[in-house]
Amino acid sequence: MSNVKQREPPKFPCEIDTELDRISSLPGHVLDQILSLLPIRDAVRTSALSRKWRYKWSQIPHLVFDTQCISTNSQDQTVVKNKLVNIIDHVLLLHNGPIYKFKLSHRDLLGLSDIDRWILHLSRRSTKEFVLEIWKGQRYKLPSCLFSFENLIHLELFNCLLKPPLAFKGFRNLKSLDLQHVTLAQEVFENLISSCALLERLTLMNFDGFTHLHINAPNLQFFDVGGVFDDVSFENTFLLTLVSIGLYVRVKNDQIVSHGSSSRLVRFFVNLPHIRRLEIQSYFLKYLAIGKVPSKFPKPCIDLNYLSIRINFNDFEENSAALCLLRSCPNLQEIEMLARPEEQASVGPVTDFWKDDHWKCLFGQLRLVKIVGISGIRSELDCIKFLLSNSPVLETMTVKPASNEGGWELVKELLRFRRASIQAEVIYLEP
């Protein structure tokens, strides 16, 4: 090997096309884009390509550290964790320029003081998107420097504890917030929502520390919540169009008696005038059914075109709530009803409920209906009959029972039902 310290002479002059290095001369933002599309490992490796490429990787604005970024055969958690910490320290230290997106989601990540240090570093780098997923261990308490991320637009946290400093005034630019398995106090939650004025998307899953969901967010468009809460109410949410709510715990029976005349169902929809898609999951319909349920809303929900309900067909309140809801949404295009067959009858037998002909309602735009998990009881069949006879433009209805038992009887009944739509196809799916 000769002249170790000298460079190898460049290969050929530029005239010969086949030898020309074209990629290095692409504009900076294009190279940033290409490097951002690579996993972090490959991106950093490009520093060994040539002199020009030495520091190109250090400008990439997205840093994603996930389980794939370490290649090791070691099963020892500490070794993997140390390697991860080492890599992230090196990358952050050598990185140059703003870091717009930072994602950290590694199976073996545990070192809490390390994460504190990295978040502090990011607070100086105009981070716009921050995703942190702690797979194991108890809730990670976020350092206060996280709350000083001025440019934050998207925040996604998994298994964290939020306790902002008293001086925290919200994330001025935050548009998307995704909190799963988090703990925060009631005031902290309300303060957070109301102080992030630009918030457009909110996702909450499996939270604790607060039980009242009072959503005051003028720009909110998407709201997805699943967890245990006492009540949910909206204020000033005129742009909210997609809502998905799941209440994972059954509403206690004593609450049913104690509540007064006003219907929760009606109150829920009062502040959602432009809602377009609604998913009612788990036990939320039971929650909504509390209070005196009218036969239909005073003002119909004209914008709602997709409705998905998890319903217990044995429960009188839930049935009446569902019927009320269906009557109040004339422009539905797609309905999905998921039955909870394991429930026992709660309040008396439900008979002749859906057969009530006094209220004729027409689903003028209903095209698709999905019924899942039924077992052939009376109220379920009546519901199907109700839908079939009130949807003149129906195209497809799919029925999927919970089990094969009584399937034959079910099919016989289905065959009899009158259909308002000539083109309607009723498809029986195997359970």
């Binding site: 290095d21 990629i23 294009v30 002199r51 520091y55 070794v79 090196h90």
Partner: protein, 423 residues
Amino acid sequence: MSEVDMAVIKPEMMKSYIWIQTTDGAIQQVEQEVAMFCPMICQEVIQKGMGSSKNYAISLPQRVSPAMFSLILDYCRFHQVPGRSNKERKSFDEKFVRMDTKRLCELTSAADSLQLKPLVDLTSRALARIIEGKTPEEIREIFHLPDDLTEEEKLEPLKNTTDDPRIRLLNRLYAKKRKELKEREKLKNVEAEEDLVDDRSVDDLLSFINGGDGDSKGIRTSKNKKKHRKRKDQQKCATSNEAIEMHKKESNAVSSLCHNAEVDHELQSSLSETLRLQDAAEIFAPTVEFDEVDNDDEIDPALKEEIDREVEDFARILNSDWPERMQELLSLGQERRRTHLSVNGNGTLKRYGNANAGSIDGNKKDCIVIDVNSHRSMFDVNQREGMTFEQMLSCSMQLVFGLPRVQFQLAKYMIPQTRLCSA
């Protein structure tokens, strides 16, 4: 013209064309809907009114060659049709980017200069797919990149290949390799390049950025280059003077924060980290980080060692349990004590010997001088509590030595004496 003629001509005339001049000088007509798909052409037409006739043809940017332009037109022609499904578009895109890398790069460049973002995204993804998972040699082969990194630079660790979290081991290995290379080089070169420093230590390996131009800062072994160090020390002295000024203003406000347990903990942990780092450096340098002396001639080794000891004592004192310490202080007032201690391999402090090993001689030795400039970054974590390192250290010293106020000098060992100043 007769009506029949008009009827024949009309269908062609219904479609409007834009005049475009390619880089080879040729002027051609392109259907308007197709050309307007490119934002840059769209801009030219709308804002500047170009392209309506042959004389006012839009000239394409330099990076768009005629061949690339026709490819781009194919892309636009397909995608500007509104009725296509996502699936169709996707499969067209996949087929479209199947070309050799040379053309792919050219296409990316051309699409970028025409501001056609969807096509730039598509080609970037294709290029990323090519690069992903390949070794540097393979990538160089594909894109014809010059292999112009020196062997030195290639040897520097890429973070992803370090399996061993202990930096020390890495340092040893690289030092060995460097020695080998140096020897090989010496056999060929007559001139010994003394000024180009090859001894790299922990700081150099970590501060990757300085590599390549031969300049190295930070820890040096004591065997080399007295001249260099002298210059360096003078530089650092200037900065430390500024630090003293800053500190003087802040030291008063700090005492109330001293009782914060968190501060103690951080201070302890950060100090132990410091010592750990020193430990790493010790592998090469017989002298510790704290001990960068100005001139080898002025300080004799015995005094050097004593200074080392004092620094370690100070660290030990800070690391000791606070309740214990408070008891000591309260019972003894202003009397200062020290114990000998050792630093373990993993940086923890161990106390041994008796507690009354000696006291600071108030007359001759006044100041414990500690250079912390190199370790500022490690104490950044403390900044969120609103204290600088000097503040913390000074308030700790106040407690330790029971002084009303401590003036903290951040300086190198300029004077072969220790001095503890009180205001």
